[in-house]
Point group: C2
Chain length 508, copies 2
């Protein structure tokens, strides 16, 4: 254990095994843990806690907690905790299949929240108090400040508000990460000042989380790496989506609405958004900046291609290959990177001020541009809304991307009415599938429908959607629907395994 | 015409009849007009324009425009313009029955927009350019600045961006309104600075709209009053809604989450929100402030009751009786009032910074707390989303109020699934009907449903909703639904005129 990792020497005798630290967490507690999009999560304590829950439950003793994180965790931690029946309530995001199963079975109460909002609820005592915070760190400063690792997420507010803090010092996280973070906490209401971030490059806070070191109840030393990102490489369809968006942006530049520097870019997590960001490599755009929540492989590819000047995020989540390439050279990138609390990376105030181009992924969207980002069949949670609402509502341009079909064509991503709404028509400007791009700005619903049918729908479903729209329009209304048929595609998918009408199925 | 109304003498010879000014507006133009919630709209020019459209159409000549306003217009102007087939496109809000009919028939393309966003679209050339702005004014300053009347709305940006400006000087609007307005326009991106409003009282701009006086192409003198507000007085049910909210807020104070000053209050337009605001008169709360969009009768009643210290809005919309009482004494109120551009009154940055308690009206809400504010039966537009999204998303507490039933019980305001979503579950904290209040904070959907069924649903519908929820839950999912039945209540309302199941109808 290098001394530099714990510079406040009085804390060095608080190093304990993970099991001992985990014992500070009791049944019924509210626990805040670091971790945002599989980056920088505390690793040893949640594993030890899951093991303790299994043992406790075997003895018939209760051990369930409310777990709040930044966003999703790596290293199968949500799976281990869910399978140990440790989680009674989980806030504000997850992306784990085992946890998802428990959520959909009603075993875990999942509160699906805009990622910028959780700490506001904590600060106003609407949620909390946080009994224990568990924060992964590169190290502890001489004043007892916590230096985060590959994510900031909600860690700063958790540590500041918690009664007790457990720090996991991860020796595999390079010490050179120090200086990457910018920890700014908005002042308390009713005296809150404007947040002084005016460009993606603005540094407005501290490079560590300032807390009273007396609250650090235990320190655990770990060596486990972040999980690699599970994003898939671009394919023909995601490349087509990127291509449509590049053509659109070139046209916006041509008519004088944007310059070749565009506006600061935000991209949601996942394969499609990552692929779209790759599309900028071969584009005419340059001197780009990002003001996003998660920085994926594409961010570093854009740096390396000389396209990107600066990136602000709340986490760095990379594939194994990209991680091995970037982390040894992190010092080279550091002057062009900031990691912020997710409250700041996703803050409506800053997103609106900077005028972002926000690119997020839809699960499905409808004729009128309403977007479902979370629920399969209107009922079953996938991951959660994450930051997509923070960005889509306040962006200069709100773009949603998806492939036009799923499950080999059995599902259309463009439907008469979405089965769940996460983003209303008011917050959706541009829709892109591999088929094409629909520019919905300043259009009324009937006009939106025609543009979407013409540009975004897979040919397998185009006639059926057009037929629905024409019959609905004959009935009238600002937003025409045949209300008794509006969800019929979802009913068919549930009962017959496909949204395709029977006659189309034979043709297909 | 008192000289003080046009202090820049070189403009005095631009006074023309309304018909002559209206002739500046040609077919296909984009026109921005003052007016917000039936206050401060230009009156003579739109009437003259509607008359001209009737005459032109009788001659077989085209005359249709895109009309952008702040919000709804008074004096039946939207009716006259819709019936004259003058409007091809209408942005961003309206509340007129005749216009609504044309919108639902697909004759007028209505773009239903968050009220804070329209000027961002104009400023970035996504909408516009504005050919002509028509702005009601108290007068024109010595520098050619326009002094608005009872609303600011989008008038400032319209006038600043328009090629030509028509000013309607309304002699019935008291000169004492001067000094009430605070015209602040955010700086241009990418150099936009934080908006310096840090309390409802913050004055950060000018008391007039600064424009190049050379753009003033015509001045029209008018004497028509604003339309009186059509808000109904409180009744037993709205009083019960107010009572439930007061009890809830008292409890929040008791447990230390709020003080008796609460947080700055916002209330949507309309009978129920106005009645709820009246509820504060007899409450233990005091030293209140408002940061809202429309200031209704209740604002002045709260001033007179000594409960309210300050109110910031974008318009003043009063009943006839209240208008007659307030306007002669406007000087007495002026130090406690500010009218701002709707971009600022509704700005996410400021709403989040101040931490508002936002109170808005729902048309219907569902088991899980999704709110429909706009569409009857999922298809037919009422008024538009207005500012409700600006406030609900960013408020400290987002409250939605409605009576539990409509049409004498034929419609339930609480349904299995809303037929249109304007506010997702993520943006709805508290629901109130005359039956009771549901506190949805930090609850998962299944928990939300039980709280809503127990507290908000009318007894006529409680068993049916509970039955739906229990059967849906048996199927599973994070947000349980029986997808083929989810909209059945709306189908029944459409086909049979009531949501009540047949057996319940007999009992009722």
């Amino acid at each position: 254990m290098p001394e530099n990792r714990i510079r406040l020497s009085s804390l060095r005798d608080r190093i304990v095994p993970a099991e001992e630290a985990a014992a500070l967490i009791g049944d019924g507690m509210i626990v805040g843990m670091s971790g945002f999009t599989r980056a920088g999560e505390a690793k040893a304590v949640p594993m030890a806690l899951a093991a303790r829950a299994n043992a406790a439950h075997a003895r018939g003793e209760p051990l369930r907690i409310t777990l709040i994180t930044g966003a999703s965790l790596g290293n199968d931690l949500d799976k281990q905790m869910a399978e140990a029946h440790l989680l009674s309530r989980r806030i504000p995001f997850q992306s784990d299949p085992a946890l998802r199963k428990a959520i959909n079975a009603g075993e875990v109460m999942f509160v699906d929240q805009h990622l910028s909002e959780t700490v506001e609820h904590l600060r106003t005592n609407q949620l909390g108090p946080i009994d224990v915070a568990v924060i992964e760190a590169v190290g502890i400063t001489a004043s007892g400040g916590i230096i985060p690792t590959t994510s900031v997420g909600n860690s700063a507010t958790f540590a500041i508000l918690a009664k007790k803090v457990i720090v996991e010092i991860n020796l595999t996280q390079p010490e050179e990460l120090e200086g990457l973070h910018d920890i700014y906490i908005p002042t308390r209401r009713p005296f809150r000042e404007p947040i002084p971030v005016v460009t993606p490059e603005s540094r407005v806070g501290l490079p560590f989380i300032p807390i009273d070191p007396e609250k650090i109840a235990a320190i655990v030393v770990t060596r486990k790496l972040d999980s690699a990102s599970n994003v898939l490489p671009p394919d023909a369809e995601t490349a087509a989506i990127a291509g449509h968006l590049m053509e659109f942006l070139k046209h916006e530049v041509k008519i004088g609405r944007l310059t070749n520097r565009l506006q600061p870019l935000q991209a949601g997590i996942g394969t499609i958004a990552n692929a779209v960001m790759h599309g900028f490599i071969e584009s005419p755009f340059g001197d780009l900046t990002m003001y996003s929540e998660v920085l994926q492989d594409s961010t570093f590819d854009l740096f390396d291609a000389g396209k990107l000047n600066f990136a602000s995020g709340s986490s760095i989540t990379l594939s194994k290959a990209k991680y091995d390439q970037v982390m040894p050279r992190i010092t080279d990138y550091k002057s062009r990177l900031i990691l912020r609390p997710q409250e700041i990376s996703n803050h409506p105030e800053i997103i609106r001020r900077l005028g972002l181009i926000g690119i997020n992924t839809a699960l499905e969207f409808d004729l009128y541009g309403n977007v479902n980002s979370t629920h399969v069949g209107g009922t079953h949670m996938m991951n959660g809304i994450g930051g997509s609402g923070d960005f889509a509502r306040n962006a200069y341009l709100s773009v949603f991307v998806t492939k036009s079909i799923a499950k080999g064509g059995a599902l259309s991503s463009v439907v008469p009415m979405v089965s769940h709404v996460d983003h209303t028509e008011h917050d959706v400007d541009i829709l892109v599938t591999e088929v094409g791009l629909a520019d919905l700005r300043e259009l009324a619903p009937r006009e939106r429908a025609r543009v979407i049918i013409a540009n975004c729908v897979h040919p397998l479903y185009r006639d059926a959607l057009s037929d629905y729209f024409e019959r609905a329009t004959a009935r009238g209304g600002h937003t025409p629907h045949i209300i008794e048929e509006a969800l019929a595609w979802h009913v068919r998918a549930r009962e017959e395994g496909t949204m395709l009408p029977e006659k189309t199925r034979k043709i297909a």
